[in-house]
Amino acid sequence: MKTHDTVTPSPAELQVIIDRLLAARACVWQHRPLHSVLASLAATAAVFLDPTSQARGEVEALLPAETGLSPAMIHHVLPLLFQEYCAERLAALVHEELGDPDILDTFVPALGSQRKAYSPALITQVLAGNLPGAGLDSVIFALLVKAATLVKASSLAPSLPLIFARTLADIDPDLGACLAVVSWAGGQAALEEIAYARADIVLASGADESLAAIQRRVRGRFIGYGHKVSFSVIARERLGDAAELARQAAYDVVLFDQRGCLSPQLVYVEAGGAVSPGEFAALLAHALEQWQTVLPRGAIPAEASVAIRRVRDETEWQALAGKETTLYASAQGTEWTVIYEADPRFVPSPLYRTVRVKPFSTLAQLKDAIMPWRAHLEAAGVAAGPARLREIADMLGQVGVSRIARIGTMQIPPLSWRHGGRPRLADLVRWVTLEEA
């Protein structure tokens, strides 16, 4: 199957692309109520949920090479990625964040006066990585609030955004005209200047220095999603069912080969439960081995293999030196690695299914361990009894975690999750109040 090459536009062509986006958006903005936009977006998502659709087949064929994930993984995650964008859930999100679904189209009553939400004309989105579906939520949200959207896809992985745009255009040509996907290799200053400067909002994900470089060119608002780290916490009262918990925790590690910001890189296990933290590490290792047969890890860059080898070597030699640490590792390659370490310090992982298990005795100790990472924390998977769940969640929330999920669901965030700790739709629009006599 042919890969979807995006053609790098010239600066003049990019100006024309943006002009057309803005013209299409003006039309949709005036003539299309939000519910009809929502219906088209949900119908587009549904195409990717249909295993017999052409778009789904193309995506399944192309994504393994683009993303490095195994075909089994792509097949497994595509439904997870698109199931959230059904009409009911999108409508519920609109209701929660914007209130009245007509608020983008007309003034509606609000606290004794009237209110209307104005969407930005153009949102430029920079999708940096090659993780499938990353940033797709922002694309859908931008279109949902009737903004035109210019997507700069990763030059290594443009297929999913391109096929999504094409599918949307087939279903709803007017709305489809509000979305353009372009791509270029890094360092094209003239194109970046146009793409960022003409946008009312620029949304970008990437490493902190890449975000800072983008932000310097933005004239409107900038919303950045930096690289983040997630982890899991298992309270002692839940360790009665440690094998099942380990299976679910391993699933969180396995999905997307642990490359996502929602992928747990460490599992903190409370001491004093039915199994010790060290024993849990062995269970987690066993579970990762099992998942490898179902959802095998994909190809990984040589540098990643080297980084995994390095932490394995470190652990092995620290153990030989008498340190309280144990290495569990896949026999042949670097498919999975579990490091048990008594030292509670928070250490990020080289990824690709490399996870550390660490013990904690008190919540205060856990808090001390994660505190230095507060600026980089994303989600925490938590298993705790009902009596302590809120206490643990409150501590994690205070420190900076924006999502607390059940173990085994860390990679499937609901639409209600406020990525980055901010509303998703309400943050994109500008609010106007009308006070009538």
Binding site: A128, G129, N130, L131, A134, S154, L156, A157, S205, G206, A207, D208, Y225, G226, H227, K228, V229, S230, F256, Q258, R259, G260, C261, S263, Q265, I300, P301, A302, E303, A304, S305, V306, A307, R309, R310, V311, D313, E314, E316, W317, Q318, L320, A321, K323, Q332, G333, T334, V347, P348, S349, P350, L351, H376
Partner: protein, 363 residues
């Protein structure tokens, strides 16, 4: 029953190999060194037992268990009381813990280092003044590089050899004067430089509008790369600058690759090729008492020549510590040696997770 050679026996055999490598069998001596290290280096013995490899089961040098360089941070890997302990710089990858290489018999390091330096930098057996942009021994006493440089200067250097980095820092103007004097006097010199110091000198030349023309036969050895120090420069960029600012041609510019954990070093083959009239391309060569394997970072099995992998060195001169060293340097086998590789392009498009390497790079 196989007699286990005594420590002096093995060390003397390695010295003999270094002095007269012709016709000697690497495998035989490598297995003897392995048996010796297995017996006396107890952490290494535990490591080997964990892998089910002992002198009884290993018959090929390729199968001798290789110790990763991180191990030198965790344990004292030695076969006897050290004459000297060399420390790694400890600044790489943001780790404060420094690796320690115990050297029980400095003669092995000394003889190995000088023999291969002479073979790669002085194939014409000239005695040249050595101008060192490498710290003097008192500025960096625990560094294996300064130790080696000191031996090279005192034993192979000609009259007028001098250090230009000391406890006070780098003395670029004094170095410039020495270069200018050599040019004026028509005296060929050998520059020994940290890559970063050489780049600093080129930057000085650029900002002062100065260029020099060192006499024919002058040569440059640079080492250490310049990651994280000053501006980055490619290998080709460096060679161009050597010509532009010093009129030293590329085939007289030799890059050294070495590590604290190894008594032997590797050098570009270019200068040696010039004198041997060899047409081999530029790559790194080690001495006859060192072998290098390139292994797949995933499976740790040997890869075919040309294919990238991790470098694993077997250095007989490491007789007193550990002979088999697993590096985390990526390279590929070529000709009689190997070449080091830079980072693969596009490797950064990974996902949205903050990873260990990114965290360490930011420190």
């Amino acid at each position: 029953m196989k007699a286990i050679p005594s420590s002096t026996d093995v060390g003397e055999q390695v010295l003999e190999f270094i002095h007269h490598p012709e016709g000697k069998d690497f495998n035989t001596l490598a297995l003897a060194v392995f048996a010796y290290q297995f017996r006396l280096n107890l952490p290494y013995q535990r490591f080997c037992l964990g892998r089910g490899r002992t002198p009884e089961t290993v018959t090929r040098w390729q199968d001798i268990p290789a110790v990763p360089t991180v191990a030198f941070k965790e344990l004292d890997l030695t076969c006897g009381p050290p004459q000297k302990i060399f420390l790694t710089s400890g600044t790489t990858r943001g780790q404060d813990k420094r690796g320690r290489h115990f050297v029980p018999d400095l003669r092995l390091y000394h003889d190995s280092a000088l023999a291969h330096f002479a073979a790669c930098l002085l194939p014409d057996a000239r005695s040249l003044p050595m101008l060192a942009l490498i710290p003097a021994p008192d500025a960096l006493p625990a560094s294996s590089l300064t130790q080696m440089t000191e031996w090279v200067i005192t034993e192979l250097g000609g009259v007028g050899s001098q250090y230009f980095i000391d406890t006070a820092g780098i003395h670029l103007e004094a170095f410039v004067d020495a270069v200018a004097r050599a040019q004026q006097a028509g005296t060929a010199v050998c520059i020994l430089a940290l890559t970063s110091a050489l780049v600093a000198f080129f930057d000085w030349c650029e900002s002062h509008g100065r260029t020099f023309a060192l006499p024919r036969g002058s040569r440059i050895m640079d080492t250490g790369g310049n990651k994280g120090k000053g501006r980055a420069i490619s290998r080709n960029g460096l060679l161009q600058s050597c010509w532009k600012y010093l009129k030293v041609p590329g085939y007289y510019c030799v890059n050294e690759y070495g590590m604290t954990e190894m008594a032997s070093q590797f050098y570009d083959n270019v200068l040696r090729n010039r004198f041997l009239r060899s047409t081999q391309p530029r790559y790194k060569i080690g001495p006859p008492w060192v072998r290098t394997l390139v292994v797949d970072p995933e499976t740790l099995t040997e890869v075919p020549p040309g294919q990238p992998g991790l470098l694993r060195h077997f250095d007989l001169a490491n007789c007193g510590s550990v002979m088999a060293i697993q590096t985390d340097d990526l390279g590929y086998a070529i000709g009689e040696g190997f070449e080091i590789m830079g980072r693969a392009p596009g490797a950064e498009a990974r996902g949205c997770a903050l990873a260990l390497d990114e965290f360490l790079a930011a420190q």
